[in-house]
């Protein structure tokens, strides 16, 4: 085909492709066809444009109107072609592999990490150490790469190719001409509307929801918890992959075409979706939650903080400033909410007013409430910002302890008071040990202090309970003469002793079976400790004095328990329910 050399030929070509005039032109797309056809059309447009530029100076009204006409038809056509290319060639972003790799990563300690612009950085050697840009303030988490092949951790922005490069070239050709002809607004609008609906589709895939603040207020914590987790995963992909890729695409198509045309297109595409994304976390920062949800809120805060440098990067143009501002505002509000929850929590611990002792000396709800750190994904890796938190937590535990001490005094039974402290402080210790982050924050020294406290309480309890029992098993007071011979044993005193022992032991057995130590290991330990003091003393006592009883009348009234019986009975202790007396046989 000959090159388009004159206006007449150019006009013909353009008119041929006037969709309002011919059915064929409406049905077929130029850019779906062969390359030559495309080139001819573009040449025709250029020709007419040149004509346009030169005839504006002339007074030939008729000619310039014709040219104008042709331009309009060409631009309308190009607009349709533009839209068509965009729609048919847009590939949605890869969310599966990206989502999986990001969500399967356990967020660990922050390190300075390398950032790289190019998406082909797969091999280990090309880790981009040379391009390393460490961030001031918050550094990024190491994460799995977004591409399949790479096994490297990386934190950086990962653009994907959303449109094949041939199509991008075509789009740019069209955009150039539309901008030159003064049809930039139409071009930007078509671009924005198509890309926005693609982004919308990606949002749906990622599970980003359109929830109102009212909706979020009404959600139960479990549901909200899940949504927060999902949001964190989705937000990372949205900012680092989705928005970044869109930005790159805008640059590829619109760079240098007009004043900040690429920025305008980018905003046109992502402003709505970005606001929608942040509205979710904004709603959470506004709503009130009870203090034990603190850790999840901190999680959210940390994730957003981590994203902030990438947000700054992606939304760096002037029109995008409002989005950056919103993100920063939300962040500070989340921090404020977390602070509020922490103080409220502290206040609640201090003020908790109940004077009714917990039955059975078991773990007070307040202790449980204080330590209900339910999420395994807690993230306390910024030591800078969080030693105040650590101190605060320790302070709260101290207050809790103080409160517990106060409560324990409401028990009339001293032994039960110690028992209560033992249970509760032990629980705290277990919880701290169970979370490496908590443990790291609170520190081993304080942990040792707490351990010492509950062990002391256990000892105190044991002593308070068993001193009376053990007193029955002593030698002193049983001998009538100085000579310690068996003949010198006062039978009546001995009988009294046995009777006292039985009575006191029965009482302890009856009462303290109802007491509960929820922690199995602690329960075992305490029982063993009791047996270790009780059994030898009883065995020795029995050994020395049973003959005296058995030689008298009704020995069964006095020797109720064999050593085995005692052992069995002690195993009933601290189970939290009444031991059945009848199920035990008395050994004779």
């Amino acid at each position: 085909m000959e090159p388009v050399v004159n206006d007449g030929a150019a006009e013909q070509i353009i008119l041929r492709w006037d969709a309002t005039a011919s059915e064929d032109a409406r049905v077929r797309m130029i850019f779906d066809g062969d390359r030559q056809e495309i080139d001819r059309y573009l040449q025709a447009v250029d020709q007419i444009q040149r004509s346009m530029d030169s005839t504006t100076l002339s007074d030939d009204g008729h000619q310039s109107t014709k040219v104008n006409n042709a331009i309009q038809i060409a631009m309308a056509r190009l607009e349709d072609e533009f839209r068509n290319i965009l729609i048919t060639n847009s590939t949605p972003i890869e969310t599966e592999s990206v989502a999986e790799s990001i969500s399967s990563t356990r967020l660990t300690t922050r390190t300075n990490s390398s950032r790289s612009e190019s998406p082909e950085n797969d091999d280990c050697s090309n880790r981009g150490e040379d391009d390393a840009v460490s961030r001031d303030g918050s550094s990024s988490f190491p994460e799995r790469s977004a591409t399949f092949e790479s096994c490297r951790s990386m934190t950086s922005i990962r653009e994907q190719d959303l449109i094949p490069s041939e199509s991008i070239a075509d789009l740019r050709c069209i955009a150039e001409r539309m901008f030159t002809a003064g049809y930039s607004r139409e071009c930007v609008q078509v671009y924005g509307s198509v890309r926005k609906s693609v982004v919308d589709g990606s949002f749906k895939k990622l599970g980003v929801e359109k929830l109102s603040i009212g909706d979020i207020q009404r959600l139960e914590w479990d549901a909200l918890n899940t949504k927060i987790g999902r949001w964190i995963r989705a937000a990372k992909i949205c900012v680092r992959v989705l928005f970044a890729s869109e930005k790159k695409l805008c640059k590829q198509i619109f760079e240098d075409l007009g004043t900040a045309a690429d920025d305008a297109c980018f905003m046109e595409t992502v402003k709505g979706p970005a606001i929608q994304l942040f509205n979710f976390v904004e709603a959470i920062s506004i709503s009130r939650r009870s203090p034990e949800k603190l850790f999840k809120i901190l999680d959210l805060h940390d994730s957003l903080l981590d994203l902030l440098p990438d947000i700054d990067d992606v939304f760096d143009s002037k029109p995008a400033e409002s989005i950056k501002t919103q993100a920063t505002e939300i962040l500070s509000r989340l921090a404020e909410a977390a602070r509020g929850m922490l103080s409220e929590f502290e206040g609640a611990v201090l003020r908790e007013p109940s004077r009714v002792p917990v039955p059975g000396g078991t773990i007070h709800p307040l202790t449980r409430y204080s330590d209900d750190s339910t999420t395994p994904d807690m993230d306390f890796t910024d030591h800078e910002g969080q030693s105040p938190l650590a101190l605060h937590l320790i302070w709260i535990i101290a207050i809790l302890q103080f409160n517990l001490e106060g409560k324990s005094k409401h028990y009339k039974d001293n032994s039960l008071a110690h028992f209560f402290i033992m249970n509760n402080v032990h629980y705290i210790v277990q919880k701290i040990k169970g979370s490496s982050e908590l443990r790291e924050m609170i520190g081993d020294q304080y942990l040792r202090t707490l351990t010492r406290i509950f062990r002391q309480a256990a000892t105190n309890h044991q002593r308070a309970t068993w001193v009376g029992v053990l007193r029955c098993l002593r030698d002193e007071g049983l001998h009538t003469t100085k000579t310690f011979s068996s003949a010198g044993v006062s039978k009546s005193s001995l009988r009294e002793r046995f009777k006292s022992f039985n009575a006191i032991f029965d009482e302890v057995h009856r009462t303290q079976s109802l007491w509960l130590i929820p922690d199995e290991q602690l329960r075992e330990e305490l029982r063993i400790s009791i047996l270790e003091t009780l059994i030898p003393a009883y065995r020795s006592f029995l050994g020395r004095f049973r003959n005296h009883i058995e030689s008298g009348r009704h020995p069964e009234n006095y020797i109720k328990y064999s050593v085995e019986d005692l052992e069995t009975a002690v195993l009933d202790l601290f189970e939290g329910y009444a031991a059945s007396q009848h199920s035990r046989r008395r050994s004779q």
Binding site: G61, S64, T65, N68, N69, A70, I71, Q72, I73, M75, A76, D80, R83, Y183, R185, E186, Q189, V190, S193, K196, S197, D200, E209, K210, L211, S212, I213, G214, D215, Q217, K271, G272, I275, Q276, N279, I286, R288, E329, R333, E344, G347, A348, R351, E352, P353, S354, P365, L366, R368, Y369
Partner: protein, 384 residues
């Protein structure tokens, strides 16, 4: 109240109102508050006469300029409310009936208002989009002489504009996401639905209804003098939200026209009732024609757009002089509106955002006060 000669007497400074002791100072403050609101609403209701120096742009009812003034007034009102009613007050006041019910109700309304603000922000983005379309038409039709190319270009833009403006909210819901016959419809559908920020079940009119359903005028003889200011603040809040939803494209607005009357004894009743009536009237008139919203600029864009499309449809070159002059005037007018939209919509959007942030702040502070109340009066409950 026994008058005494002693100036500094404690008794002089207090007044006994029912069973409640309030400080005279406070009563004055509360009355001033009502007066200020009344004044501002009156300004918005009685628009400047032709004799007075017209503001630029003129603050016609429900124009962008009018809304900026309205939001300004609301922000002042809100600040005064906080200062007079909330700040420095003994928290136990809020534990007493009926405030223990009224304050939480007001806070609940403010949550709904926050959602409405977000919806409005999106709506303003749509308005900006319309402005850009109109601008294309204006620029094309400013070229002389009227040429076929330019006219067709303008018509294309105006067709898109008008379809977007007149599309019914409800109808469009069903189209969102689906591909309709023509490419233009699809784009328009996308444009509209993409400007919806919430799930399909959310409805602006339902939010407004919920906000106003439990808003009852206080009967005379309430035990505390704070009931009226709370009622005032709530009424103003509902009114502002209602007006914005009526004017700016918003998700699902069926049944918006209803409003409740403010009892006449309040000084601010007259302007507020007046405004409500006027706006409700307009809403009823325009309701059947599609729900682009009552914003003055939108209405005029629509009217001018229709005229210009008619011109474009019947266009033949050359255009006779009379017609050309007529069209030129309309183009100038449309250009004027575009300029006003371009100048005013971004600031308006920022005001809405400020409203949002202010309400968030106030709500947080009020909740803090309420928390204090709860702590004093009830032990901390634990439900596990």
């Amino acid at each position: 109240m026994p008058p005494t000669d002693n100036q500094g007497s404690f008794l002089n400074r207090i007044s006994i109102r029912r069973n409640q002791v309030v400080y005279e100072h406070e009563v004055e403050d509360l009355e001033q508050f009502q007066k200020h609101v009344a004044d501002r609403l009156t300004e918005l209701f009685h628009l400047p006469t032709e004799d007075a120096t017209p503001s630029d742009p003129p603050e016609t009812l429900l124009s962008i300029a009018w809304f900026r003034k309205l939001l300004d007034a609301f922000l002042c009102c809100e600040a005064e409310f906080k200062a007079v009613v909330i700040m420095g007050r003994d928290p136990t006041t809020f534990a007493k009936s009926p405030l223990d019910r009224l304050i939480p109700e007001h806070l609940d309304r403010s949550v709904k208002a926050l959602d409405i603000c977000n919806a409005i922000t999106h709506g303003i983005d749509l308005l900006l989009h319309w402005q850009k379309l109109a601008q294309i038409a204006v620029d094309s039709l400013q070229q002389r002489p009227f040429g076929e190319g330019n006219v067709k270009r303008a018509k294309k833009a105006l067709d898109t504009l008008l379809s977007s403006i007149t599309i019914d909210d409800k109808e469009n819901h069903h189209h969102s996401g689906k591909y309709t016959a023509s490419k233009d419809q699809e784009t328009i559908g996308n444009l509209r639905s993409l400007s919806y920020s919430f799930a399909k079940s959310w409805s602006a009119s339902k939010q407004i209804q919920a906000m106003s359903s439990n808003l009852a005028a206080p009967r005379g003889g309430e035990p505390t003098g704070l009931v009226v200011p709370v009622y005032l603040m709530s009424s103003v809040l509902v009114f502002v939200m209602w007006a914005m939803v009526a004017a700016i494209p918003c998700q699902e607005r069926t049944g918006l026209g209803a409003h409740s009357q403010i009892p006449k004894q309040f000084p601010w009743a007259h302007p507020m009732n007046g405004l409500q009536e006027k706006i409700a009237e307009d809403w009823k008139k325009k309701e059947k024609k599609g729900r682009s919203g009552l914003l003055e600029e939108t209405q005029r864009l629509e009217k001018l757009g229709k005229n210009l499309v008619e011109f474009a449809d019947g266009f033949t070159f050359p255009v006779e002089e009379e017609k050309a002059k007529e069209v030129a005037t309309q183009v100038v007018e449309m250009g004027d509106i575009c300029r006003r939209m371009e100048d005013g919509l971004m600031p308006l959007q920022m005001q809405v955002r400020e409203l949002f942030l202010r309400m968030v702040r106030s709500r947080g502070e009020a909740l803090d006060v309420l928390d204090q109340v709860n702590k004093i009066t009830t032990p901390v409950p634990y439900n596990f």
